[in-house]
């Protein structure tokens, strides 16, 4: 099922959890689309796939991978790519994404999104992996900017420049995770607004919003942990409004993996994103009377 890019409500989605299934099938309050983690559905059979079949018949899907380890030394695992291809062929999701990170090495999967150096060697490796993935799967990938806690002394590029160069060389798009941007910016003492403006915004295919936990650094400064365990923070909403005003409406997902709220609460939060997109669209129309007239006739 495709997304309707003219309707902001249909562009605001939520992360699916099995606990939401019953409510989703009955609920009058409906999210615009659903995102699932690819790896949770790489099973031989049973209820997981049947559940997703039922959801796919009613909603556009976003399939979000966490296991390709694009920033790893090894080439993407062929077995895993085949599993992914089978899933994409079964569901034809409206959106498909992975991370600018690595998650495994030498036959061990760490189940964490680990940071990479932003230098030429790393750029060439990531681009080769993205090329291989896109060729094998026969579709464009959206690559997500990471949340980070440590950086590398040898990095010679900013994250934004690094991502722009990847999108330019491989043709992949950006999954702009505004919470990650805010978390990384805060943790590394940078201005998240400035970081946002530097991103390759013309390539954004989807946006992620989520909540974080606040800890303290050794000097008492705020240390943000990307937990997906809380409501989206006000500062992140402010960045989101800024982004939408710059690039217009984009499929936007509220990610929630811990402290799951009830479905109506989560859908209401996604409704806030729809509201931001609606307001931005009206402001744009207000600025362009000719276009508004054209739309009315």
């Amino acid at each position: 099922m495709r997304l309707d890019s003219r309707d902001p409500r249909s562009l605001a989605g939520i992360g699916f959890k099995p606990g939401y299934f019953e409510a989703l099938m009955q609920e009058p309050v409906r999210p615009g689309f659903l995102e699932v983690h690819a790896e949770n559905f790489m099973v031989a059979g049973g209820p997981a796939l049947e559940m997703l079949d039922a959801l796919a018949a009613r909603w556009p899907l976003s399939i979000h991978g966490v296991g390709l380890s694009i920033g790893g030394v090894q080439r993407p695992d062929k077995t895993h790519l085949k599993r992914l291809r089978r899933l994409l062929e079964r569901y034809h999701p409206a959106l498909f994404s992975e991370h600018l990170a690595w998650s495994g090495h030498d036959g061990i999967f760490f189940n964490d999104l680990l940071p990479i150096t932003y230098d030429m060697l790393s750029l060439l490796r990531v681009c080769a992996h993205v090329d291989e993935i896109q060729a094998f799967l026969g579709r464009r990938l959206l690559l997500e900017n990471p949340s980070s806690y440590v950086e590398f002394s040898h990095s010679t590029w900013s994250e934004a420049d690094f991502l722009r160069e990847i999108t330019r060389r491989t043709g992949c798009g950006l999954l702009l995770d505004i919470n990650n941007l805010y978390v990384s910016g805060t943790n590394h003492g940078r201005d998240p607004q400035g970081m946002l403006r530097e991103m390759p915004l013309d390539t954004v295919g989807q946006i992620h919003l989520a909540g974080f936990a606040v800890e303290r650094d050794a000097d008492g400064g705020r240390l943000l942990i990307d937990t997906h365990g809380a409501a989206v923070a006000d500062d992140v909403w402010a960045l989101y409004r800024l982004a939408i005003n710059m690039i217009g409406a984009k499929p936007t997902l509220i990610e929630r993996d811990e402290n799951l709220p009830t479905l109506p609460v989560l859908v209401a939060e996604s409704g806030l994103a729809a509201g931001v997109m609606q307001a931005a669209a009206e402001t744009r129309l207000g600025r362009e009377p000719a276009r508004r007239e054209a739309l009315q006739t």
């Binding site: 790896e39 949770n40 790489m42 099973v43 031989a44 059979g45 049973g46 209820p47 997981a48 049947e50 559940m51 966490v66 296991g67 390709l68 380890s69 790893g72 030394v73 895993h80 599993r83 089978r86 690595w102 998650s103 495994g104 090495h105 030498d106 036959g107 061990i108 999967f109 760490f110 189940n111 964490d112 680990l114 990479i116 150096t117 790393s122 806690y149 440590v150 950086e151 590398f152 002394s153 040898h154 943790n187 590394h188 003492g189 650094d217 050794a218 000097d219 400064g221 240390l223 942990i225």
Partner: protein, 263 residues
């Protein structure tokens, strides 16, 4: 960055933080890197806890977390598909000192693993009543056919009351669980048949000869062969009853094509 060095530090907190990392002035590199060490361990132990909830309740959460961390260090996942992570946990539990205090722990773990494997096993089409009836009327065919059982079928034979232990933990509320646990007779063993029914995983208590018989069918024996094996160990296999139960559960299925299994 050296991925190998980073990985080694990630897995072993006794190692120093990998070289070449930096954090902003005033922040602690140790503390920041610990976030990654913690993420890896916590999420993998969480995944283990999702598969082994009864084991977790039996040993208590804090002991389970410690046990889980030890297991994750010894058996890290090779695949990013974590739905079937922790296959070696049963053997690990049996070899662990915790098993000495709770001798049934390993068998409970095995039952929970069978449930997880059952949940995600391949689909298969049960044989129609007509097919089964036709076979039943043809003694020659019934005797020589090697039946295919549903890929979700699992069998556990235990010296401990493993089904009662597992079932007790399905009650809501700690009080109800304790009450059910107190009623269990630990002197007798139990066997379980695990199979998927629609979207549920059933854990059905079966007799030891029934378990032996079904295990024989799973291993590819014919009905007479499996029945003979079961009866060699115990006299009381009620063959018509167990066959009727298997048919009712849709356990006899059409052959599953290899391409469907290859997930």
């Amino acid at each position: 960055m050296n991925h190998a060095e980073f990985s080694a530090s990630l897995c072993d907190p006794a190692r120093p933080v990998p070289s070449g990392l930096r954090v902003r002035a005033g922040a602690s590199l140790e503390q920041r890197f610990a976030i990654h060490r913690n993420n890896t361990l916590v999420r993998l132990v969480d995944a283990l806890g999702d598969t082994y909830p009864v084991v977790q309740t039996l040993v208590g959460e804090s002991f389970f977390r410690a046990l889980g961390r030890e297991f994750v260090r010894q058996h890290p996942p090779a695949s990013p598909v974590l739905t079937l992570y922790g296959a070696e946990f049963t053997r690990f539990v049996r070899g662990h000192e915790a098993a000495a205090a709770l001798p049934y722990l390993g068998d409970v773990a095995e039952l929970e693993w069978l449930r997880q494997a059952c949940l995600h096993a391949a689909n298969a089409r049960p044989l129609s009543v007509e097919t089964l009836a036709t076979c039943a009327q043809d003694p020659g065919r019934l005797a020589t056919t090697r039946w295919h059982l549903h890929p979700s079928v699992g069998i556990l034979q235990s010296r401990h009351p493993v089904v009662s232990l597992w079932t007790a933990h399905q009650h809501a509320g700690a009080e109800a669980i304790v009450y059910a646990l107190q009623a269990i007779d630990h002197s007798r063993g139990e066997s379980a048949l695990v199979i998927r029914a629609d979207w549920d995983v059933l854990v059905l208590p079966v007799s030891a000869p029934e378990a032996m018989f079904v295990a024989g069918l799973v291993a590819g024996r014919t009905i007479p062969e499996a029945a003979a094996d079961a009866q060699a160990h115990a006299v009381s296999l009620d063959l018509p009853t167990v066959l009727a139960m298997l048919m009712q559960l849709g356990a006899f299925v059409e052959p599953v094509l290899p391409s469907e299994l290859d997930a």
